[in-house]
Each structure stands twice: as C-alpha cells, then as structure tokens.
C-alpha cells in the first residue's frame, strides 16, 4: 500500500496490552520525517506501552504499524532498528556489567565491525555528553542515575538512526543537562532526525516539539500542533499543573479523576 504522506513512522488504530487486558486501545499516531513530536499523559496512561508496540517489544493485538509505508506490524525489533528506528527505554536501562565503551559498542551492533565509523560516532557523542568520555572504562551499572540516563541516550544514537524514540529522556538529569539534551535533540531534528519523546515535563516537551499526542486511559485523546495543545486549556488543566494555584481547580475535575483511576487500574 502506498502511503502518500511523508510519514516516517505511523501507528494505525493500535491496540495492545499485557496478558489479556488491553492497555492501549485504537491509538493512531503519525510521525513525520524530521522534527520533534511529544507524547504526553499521566502515569499509567499507556505511553510506554504504545511505544513498546511501535518498536516491536510488545505484540500488536489489533491495528498496524508502518515504517516508511512498509507494514512492520509483526517484524522483530532488530529489523525495525535496521530500518532506522532507535529506542531509549524508560528508566535508565544499561548493561550493568559491561563498561561504558562496551555499552556503546553494543549500541552500534548492527553497524558491523566498522571500527572507524564507531570511533567517530563516539567522538561526536562525547562532545554532547562529556561525562561519558571520562567514564569509558567504568562498569555502567556503577554509574549514577543521571549518568546512566546519558549513556542510555548515547547508546541509542550510536547507529545514526533516522528516528529516535525516547521514553522520558529528561528522567533524573540535572536541569543543565536537560537543556543540553533537548538542545541536542532539536539540533538533530533540524538535521533530519525524527525525534519522538515521551515526557512528563509536558510543557517543556511541547515547547520544543512541533506536534503532540495526549494520551489518557490508554487512548489518544488529543492530537495536534504542539503549540495549540500547549494553549488548549483542557490539556493544561489535565496535565501541566504548571501553577500551584491551578491545583485546586484540577481537583474539581471529578469526571477526569474517575477516568484517570480506570486508566491506571485497567481492572
């Protein structure tokens, strides 16, 4: 099937979950080549689940996934990586008993034995994440939380991917580094990388993003220009919680509260 849009990655009506309970229902998302997209939503909304389905870590129950118009719904994760989709999972996952350098080598696994290219990529990444350069021979599991997060991001960038999906990239990073990482991502997006980030720092994410998806109780409830989402009072009220005074008001949204319950529980 020929897809007319410039979409790099597309999810069509995806339903998936764990065991026999769906955690995501009929989620549709389109990510264009280049540019930053953000997926936001409260805890347990199904963000990580939908992302895992996109990269092939969870089987899709229903619906389809396309990469550059090719149906990859049942393709293994490593094949999707070969198509250029890199992934940074949530929660600073590294190979704990391997050194930082080996972690990066593994990141470049699909590149084969091209030592030169790998060395060059590492050099480039070290410029963004200087800490990594200093810790090349430390076991990754002994690094601090934030250091591990940097390594996790750097690892995914090793293949020079066409798209990168980051599940909470800012997690545990110091403010200075959050800035650096976001800056870097925007820069890469400018060079044509498709950046998809799941974030709790929603306003921040929507500020750098061009397009946003808001998830709630396993469904995509809002889609659109990031700027317009940012201005959408409902979205603000629901998730942003920027200003403490607003908290009161949010608590009064009983309807949504109940829905939020169900979303987290899925019982």
């Amino acid at each position: 099937m020929e897809v007319e849009s410039t979409a790099f990655l597309e999810l069509k009506q995806v339903t998936t979950g764990y065991g026999d309970v769906p955690a995501v229902r009929n989620a549709s998302m389109v990510f264009d080549r280049g540019g930053v997209s953000a997926v936001i939503g409260s805890n347990g909304a199904g963000k990580s689940t939908v992302i895992k389905a996109a990269v092939g870590l969870l089987p899709v129950w229903n619906g389809q996934i396309f990469i550059e118009g090719v149906d990859v719904t049942t393709e293994a994760p490593h094949k999707r990586l070969a198509r250029g989709v890199a992934f940074v999972p949530q929660g600073r996952i590294v190979m704990p008993e391997m050194t930082v350098r080996e972690n990066l080598d593994i990141g470049a696994y699909i590149l084969g034995n091209d030592r030169r290219r790998i060395a060059a990529t590492i050099e480039r990444l070290v410029a963004t994440f200087p800490v990594i350069g200093q810790r090349m021979d430390q076991l990754a599991g002994t690094m601090s939380g934030g250091e591990q997060q940097m390594l996790a991001i750097a690892r995914a960038l090793m293949t020079d991917p066409t798209a990168i999906i980051l599940d909470e990239p800012s997690l545990g990073l110091s403010p200075k580094f959050v800035d650096a990482v976001f800056e870097k991502l925007v820069e890469l997006a400018g060079q044509g990388l498709t950046v998809i980030m799941v974030e709790q720092k929603a306003s921040r994410a929507l500020t750098v993003a061009e397009r946003g998806y808001v998830m709630h109780t396993g469904r995509v409830i809002y889609t659109g220009e990031a700027a317009s989402l940012l201005e959408n009072p409902n979205v603000q009220q629901l998730f942003l919680g920027e200003v403490p005074e607003e908290v009161e008001r949010m608590l009064n949204l009983n309807d949504f509260d109940e829905a939020a319950h169900a979303g987290m529980a899925h019982t």
């Binding site: 293994a76 990586l81 890199a86 080598d105 593994i106 690892r155």
Partner: protein, 287 residues
Amino acid sequence: MPVFELLVSGILLGGVYALIACGLNLIFGVMRVINFAHGDLLAVGALTTVSVVVGYHMPYIVALIVVPILTAALGLAMQLLVIRRIIDGPMVMSLLATFAISMIVVNVSILIWGGGFHGLPDVLSGSLPILGLHIPAAKLLAFLVAMGATAGVWWFLQSTRYGKAIRSVSQAPELAVISGISISQVRNVTFALGSAMAGLAGVLLAPTFASDAQLGTRFGVKAFAVIIVGGMGSYPGAMAAALFMGILEVFAGYLYGQEFGAATLFLVMLIVLVVRPRGLFGVGART
C-alpha cells in the same frame, strides 16, 4: 613426597576440570542456567566416541569432529524445546528443567549403550617422557585443548562483536533486543556452543576414563566447584581455579587420603563463597 610428579598430575587433572567447566561456565555466564545435563552430554560424547572408534573402527579424529556437532545439536534441541520457554522465569525453574533433561538423557543413554563401562584401549594410551616424568598423552591433549578452549571462549566473548552481543543478552535482554541483537539466536548459539564443548570434553576424556552414562555425574559436581572458586562467568578465573583445584586435590589426596582430597575441593569452595562470594576473580556492579 614426589612433589614434581604430583604437581604435574595436579595440573593435568586441573586441565580435565577446566575442560568441563568451560562449557558449563559459558552457559551459566550467558544464560544464568545451571545446566545439570552438561555432564550427561559429556557422557553421551564419550560413549559416542567409543561407538565411533571401537564400533565403527573409525579414527579418533573423526570422533573429535563429529561428536561436538552431535552434542551441539542435542543442546540446541534442549534449548529450543525447553530452555527458551522458561529462561525468563526464576532460576530454580531452569534448574529443575535441566535436571529433568538430565534424567532423560542418562536413561536414554542407558537404553542405547547399556549400563556397562566402555573404554578406548588403543587411543592415545602412551606417555611422553618429559623431564624424567611420563606425561599421559591423552591427558596432555585434554589439558592443551582445555587451555586453548578457555582462552578462545574468553577472547571471543571479550573482544569480538558477537561475543559482546552474547554478554549483553545475559545482562539486559530487552536492551539487547533494541540494539538489534536477536536474543533467541544468541541464546541458541550459546547453548549449542556450550553443549559442543561438553561433547568435546567427552571425546577427550574417553581415552582416560571408563565411559558410561554416569561419567559426567562423576565430574559434574567438581567442575561446579571450580566455577564457583573462579567466579561464575569468569574464564581466566575458571582456568586458574581449575589448575589450583586439580593441584590441591592431588596433593591433599596424597597427604591426607582420597576422601579428604575430594572434600577439600568443597571446603575450598565454601571458604571462597564465604570470603568472596563472587569467586576469586568475579566482579560485579552495584546493586
């Protein structure tokens, strides 16, 4: 006390342990599976060697090639049919599974080869006179292969791209997947390789020891002690520990009797466990 003779015997015995420990260590190190059936594959290897050499009158070298392939196939079958389905469960599970497999392998071997003992009287039965000692040829070969195999596996895991992939699967399978590594393939390869090494050990031990379906059981436990002392998953450690334990067993056996000699291995293992649970050469990340 014939120190020199004992030392050489100990080193050669250590080679035997290293040979068995190598495959066991590979499978444990990568898959966190304690393979109870390892010794039984070894026995199958030894018995097949006897069949090839005595039964079919083929040269020993044929067994050296054919048997590891056979046991690799058996190991792969184990992995595909059973291990891969339970590998992500608790460790006792895989232990029970390999125990059940071990029961099956032993008893099927008995059906095939009978319960009696077999030998290879005419293979490598001589000795090489070196420095006034007679070094058993078969044991010497086993020793050299053990050292070569251990070093080879170590180099492979440590320095090659695929070796690193194998290690990464043992540490963070999900991360390995998204780095483009096919975990199932890595696990299949590992299990087949480990099993091939069990077979190789079988071929090399068949000339020195009496082969029957229980041959592996007689060694298996000691090989395990070696791995513990060396640090699970550590190859230089396993090699050093194997030599150390071999020498220790021979000397302790000579000085204080065989029963004490055998017990020493476990005592040393216990001491190491208590003092350095990760083995003399084991390393680890913070938890």
